[in-house]
Chain length 210, copies 3
């Protein structure tokens, strides 16, 4: 019954588009507090929205997703401009970009892990690909905005992404319905990340002896 | 009449080589004001000359241009050494590197856009590839020299490259002679960039409300 | 007699694994003096151990080595955790990481150069690939640790790697036994690098006239 697979593929496609839109929006909200011209802001948004998936596709030797399908760059541009005009009209709190950023992280972790699996990557590599897809766009954004990357600020970020990817992989291994597995893994990333921001949860710090 | 195509291909090949030489020269002029040893300078020149085209080729899944053809790295090395000895003999103004940088930007925008088109990329992606080819080498150079990248300094840079790429694409779409289109697009980038430096033209800055 | 090739291939495979382990260990020793959580430390170790070879494989359009074979990431993780617990128990001098770093540089230079040759790269490109494989992991590590990259600190680093790669290539060209050539090239990199650290040997600095 191949038609059963169509909704899932469509779900993954829409999830990717939503992740792209979220990361573009988060980038504009962060870049908007800096002195960028409109074009510079668009560059930051595109790098944030398309960077992680590009690195994943390069490493897996897949066709790069936004080159094969122009829809992604159009959605990224649209989300960036929409967010920009929204932020010009309404006064938004400075930390608001953390919400779309966490959503983008969660959605990209799921699509990155599943894309790697579909490409026959072994499970450990697939979990790394989920993290790379989720994390690299945000690193590019923060570096271009000259901010310390969120991923290195201590509150669970890459860790949340990795846990979500591992849970997703375990559920797929246990042959649980892929849609349920995807929603569970993604929700875990999003909720862990929000909880980490809210209560400043972090892994313990370790330093080597000197 | 295939011989009509040879001059154009040859023109593109020479344009690529000239772009590589310009970016290598600009890199040496910038790195020369820092404390680099000779080898470090060569590394910066190679990264600047070959970086943008490498990223374009990786994203398009083309063979990387300087690996397929050793001529590019030899030209980059030659231009770097020539510029270095020139700069040791003559006293050159500090901002001189902006000229070969602008030329390299213009030439790489043209060859990057055309290479993407030849690889059947859709037009929006092709224009991005022109910008990536033109801009990434300079970003690598500035990062390695620990300078704020020119592309983020406000005066038209990536914007000039993108406009040139779009004009080139529009002229090709209108079936104007490809050589004329290439020269027009490239000149536009170069002149826009020089004008932006001379009169400090920039896009308006936007910031989001807080 | 194909069985004669097995030891050499095996030697190269073990050399790659050793290089990965060394770079992971050096990264933990450097990151351990910063405020990283355990996961952040693992990310830095993986980036250092797998970064250079990944860029080489991307540029050569080979399958990325640690995706094709999960052993590499497991060895990198193992070496990182082992080094971490060692450094928690014993007090290690701060500059100790320079030793595994130099070893990793030497081993990666050899495997990077040979991998490029096996992929039919011309010799100049093969020597660049040796340098990229050896140097890029350390650059990623230093950037993630917010330290000035060793490669730009003046004492022979990329230069040592390049000289070793060129000697290796010359010996292979002269049809000297490949194992001897590999050991000689690698030892040269390692000893040059250690000597450069010990006696602060550097190439002369050049600056252009102003």
């Amino acid at each position: 019954m191949p038609q059963l697979h169509i909704p899932l593929d469509l779900l993954m496609y829409c999830t990717s588009l939503a992740a792209v839109a979220m990361m573009a929006a988060a980038a504009v909200l962060e870049a908007g507090r800096k002195r960028f011209d409109l074009f510079g802001m668009v560059v930051v948004a595109l790098a944030a929205a398309l960077g992680g998936g590009s690195l994943r596709d390069l490493l897996l030797d897949r066709p790069v997703f936004w080159i094969a399908d122009q829809t992604y760059s159009i959605v990224a541009l649209g989300a960036a401009l929409f967010t920009f005009f929204l932020a010009r009209v309404f006064s938004l709190p400075a930390r608001l970009f953390l919400i779309p950023d966490a959503l983008g992280l969660a959605l990209f972790t799921v699509t990155g892990t599943k894309a790697a699996l579909a490409w026959d990557a072994p499970w450990l590599v697939a979990s790394f690909m989920g993290v790379i897809t989720g994390v690299v766009g945000g690193i590019l954004r923060d570096v271009l905005c000259n901010e310390e990357p969120l991923v290195f600020q201590g509150t669970l970020y890459a860790t949340a992404s990795w846990l979500g990817a591992l849970v997703l992989l375990a559920m797929l291994e246990l042959e649980i319905n892929p849609s349920i597995a995807a929603v569970t893994g993604g929700s875990l990333v999003f909720l862990l990340r929000l909880a980490a921001i809210r209560w400043e949860i972090s892994l313990p710090y370790f330093t080597t002896k000197e």
